[in-house]
């Protein structure tokens, strides 16, 4: 038995380590178009202490280590590009605390979106969290690690803006806490201590998040989604500006897609509205649909398609089964809302060039401060040609995001290169210094955010 395997087994116990071909095969893949790379070991720890010991071992032996949550980024961010230890963190799945009055939850890094949604519905039905449209197996720690957004992004921003405390294991095995938890006063605030936030968005290249505190929000008794539709994409930015001014919505998503055909070239805006009473709901609906969007209805530029009560949480995505192909990937861009028309037109153009029916979606973040725009490309997993087409379209879209003045969201290695090329030299140098200081051996998820 090789000594690394033996050491890993000593840390996590039999059955939670593997170097067998079957596990190495499965963990070599991302679900999107990224090329597979085999790890050398899979390890599934159960405690922070075990993570510390594994990281110390990796550092001592100079072995790459790649943290994995739900594995649903679709951007290849947890593909072990240089082999090493693949750290499957999903066994660390305890919901440690829900503080009702201060509205936060302290959770381990393997807690999934579905698990927290279910837990809150069953035990704290008047609280909710910002849930992304990802499958429910996606982890919350993974989502904050990539600066994700959920269905409360419009009023409250990125999910990573909802963090109230972090526990992080550094490459040398040190255990750090950030926020009020660092001074032993609970997990209720990230501020006002000096900012040392150098872990979010780094894909585990600076440290492994093992625990976090996340903001919860009031869950209204009635939740549902209303849909507005327009033909002219140029109207979308001003409509979004007007809806966000009302401060009456929970989530705003604009989208256009080629399938089904009758919706082609139309632009739908889904607006989630929540209320505690019929009276409140009526009031919010009147403000949004009548007072704010009524002018578009009267002018014949837009139409109200109605309000459907109840939100599907967790959300069910069937995108991967488009054309029975088993695969899709999307480029996410954090874009100014005003770029919606170009995002739509250019994204559609790229899709059509690659013979892929277009799907473009934009979720509003904050009071129209930005929009997470997603260009989705389906492929057939059994057909390497379609995978190649999707990959080419994704790279073109990465380029497009930067050209249109946006920033690529959760970029894979191709997108990271584009970002780093444009990054100010001093900022890039600081990133390099931080990485070198924290991870001198370069063991942490190598191949990501690598600065020459």
């Amino acid at each position: 038995m090789d000594s690394i395997y033996k050491s890993l087994t000593a840390i996590v116990g039999d059955g939670h380590v593997s170097n067998r071909p079957e596990e190495l095969y499965i963990y070599s893949f991302d679900l999107g178009t990224a090329e597979p790379h085999r790890p050398d070991y899979i390890v599934s720890p159960e405690t922070t202490e075990q993570v510390q010991e594994i990281v110390r071992l990796a550092n001592r032996e100079n072995i790459p280590i790649v943290p994995l949550g739900g594995g649903l980024s679709l951007a290849g961010l947890a593909v072990p590009l240089k082999g090493g230890i693949l750290l499957d963190l999903k066994r660390m799945d305890q919901i440690i605390e829900v503080n009702e009055k201060a509205r936060y939850a302290v959770i381990e890094c393997g807690v999934s979106q579905g698990q927290l949604t279910s837990y809150l519905e069953r035990h704290h039905p008047h609280l909710t969290h910002s849930e992304p449209g990802a499958p429910p197996a996606a982890t919350i720690a993974g989502n904050v690690m990539i600066h994700g957004q959920g269905d409360l992004a419009q009023p409250y921003g990125f999910t990573s803006d909802m963090i109230l405390g972090l526990e992080v294991v550094l490459p040398a095995g040190e255990l750090l806490h950030f926020g009020s938890c660092a001074v032993g006063t609970g997990w209720f605030t990230l501020h006002p201590l000096p900012d040392v936030g150098i872990f979010l968005g780094w894909y585990g290249t600076t440290g492994i998040i093992t625990k976090l505190s996340i903001k919860l929000f009031p869950a209204k008794k009635i939740r549902g989604v209303g849909t507005f539709v327009v033909e002219d994409e140029n109207l979308i930015p001003e409509i979004i500006f007007k809806i966000t001014h009302t401060q009456m919505a929970e989530d705003i998503i604009a989208f256009s897609r080629a399938i089904p055909p009758f919706t082609r070239e139309l632009h739908h805006i889904n607006v989630n509205i929540a209320a505690d009473s019929e009276k409140e709901l009526e009031f919010r609906e009147e403000i949004i649909w009548d007072d704010t969007l009524g002018e578009y209805i009267r002018s014949g530029d837009g139409g109200y398609l109605g309000f459907v009560r109840g939100l599907q949480r967790p959300q069910i995505s069937k995108t991967s089964d488009y054309k029975k192909g088993g695969g899709f990937e999307y480029v996410g861009g954090i874009m100014p809302v005003e770029t919606y028309p170009q995002c739509y037109r250019k994204g559609r153009e790229i899709s059509e060039q690659h013979s892929i029916p277009y799907t473009v979606t934009g979720r509003v973040i904050g009071a129209a401060h930005s929009m997470m725009f997603a260009w989705t490309y389906a492929f057939n997993r059994a057909d390497s040609e379609t995978i190649g087409q999707a990959r080419a379209a994704l790279h073109e879209t990465d380029d497009l995001v930067m050209k249109l003045g946006g920033v690529i969201w959760k970029p894979g290695t191709y997108g990271q290169k584009l970002v780093l090329e444009r990054l100010e030299p001093d900022t890039r140098e600081l990133m390099k210094k931080i990485k070198t200081l924290i991870d001198p051996n370069g063991i942490m998820n190598p191949g990501n955010w690598e600065i020459p």
Binding site: G15, H16, S18, R20, P21, E22, E23, Y25, I26, Y27, F29, L31, I42, S44, G70, G71, L72, D88, K90, R91, D93, S112, G114, Q115, T117, S118, Y119, R122, P135, P136, A137, P314, I316, S317, K318, S320, D321, K324, G325, G326, G327, F328, N380, R381, A382
Partner: protein
Amino acid sequence: MALKDFAYGDTIHRCFRCGYCKFPANWMDVNNCPPYARFRMETYSCGGRLWLTRAWLNEQLEWSEHLAEILYSCTTCKNCEMKCPLRFNVDIVNMIVAARSEMVERGRLPKNIKTFLENIELYGNPYGSGRTQRNIWAEDEGIDKYSSHEYLLYVGCAGSYDTRAQKATKALAGILKKTGVSFGILGDEENCDGNEVQKMGETGLFEALARGNIYLFKKFGIQKIIVLSPHAFNAFKNHYPEYGGDFSIFHYTHILYNLIADGMITFTDTFKRKVTYHDPCFLGRWNNEYEIPRKIIKAIPGIEIIEMEKHREGALCCGGGAGNFSIDLLGGGKESPARRRIREAYETGADVLAAACPKCLIMLDNAVKEEGLEDKLIVRDISEIVLDACK
């Protein structure tokens, strides 16, 4: 066989590995796929198995004992099919069964699986016990050999050979006798129903068992069959018609419910218990029967029924399906599905865990001891509960 010749060669790539299949109905955790719950490695998830199968058929992976164990650890509980939102979901278990068939065809099986199948072929049961042992449970019970009775009581392998399951068999037979139901058994002429064999991919052996049993049932003039096991219920009801076996099949809970409704079974009011019910996969998810067992329990005065968080179509499998009650690929640790299920039952505050399947009964009865909870939670088959309550 190459992937292109695989029965699901044009479907298997459609699994995205999104992970819906790991969840129960209420999304409370990712532990409702029994092998994934036990091992918590992606290889043991439903998607992992499908991707590995595809890789093996594509010759990207070689066969290994570990690969076979991963595939055979699936209990065919159908949780994945209930949760997968994609249109191919109805074929997920079929894909695993087809992959196992391919392993059988190639003669590439781990020893314990070979032994399981050989025992059934040689002895008509997976335990390797002689056919004459099949009837031992009935000695001194005064039960007729089937001969133009209204019902055949088909006991099945677990109910015949396993000492724990035999108690449930005796309880059921006792109730049927007491209430005057006309029934007989086949005794040592009874043979394995083959449900597990089919799910393990040994289609040739399954066909032989099905045809043999159908021949036997017809020879005796049997038209109505009461089964102890939901596994046999599934085989007889859903697979045997393909081979000309068109009988009226009743899971024993259906019979007990009718006897209660007809006033043939009456209860004393002294049976004060808190009971939680474990849905067997082959009664629930496979055959959509969730209510009758609960109605029986609720009919007993003094019983308070408490649901586990995972129940009905969201129930966690005991880990015994597709031969795992014997080949035991999921046992050996606190994360085994049966031990998890015991903890879930205990958390309800119930003092009785009710089962309606001899395999579940065996699995859960062992697990309650492994959990050290046998003084706080007793595992009882519904037939045993009914018998106790009507004494």
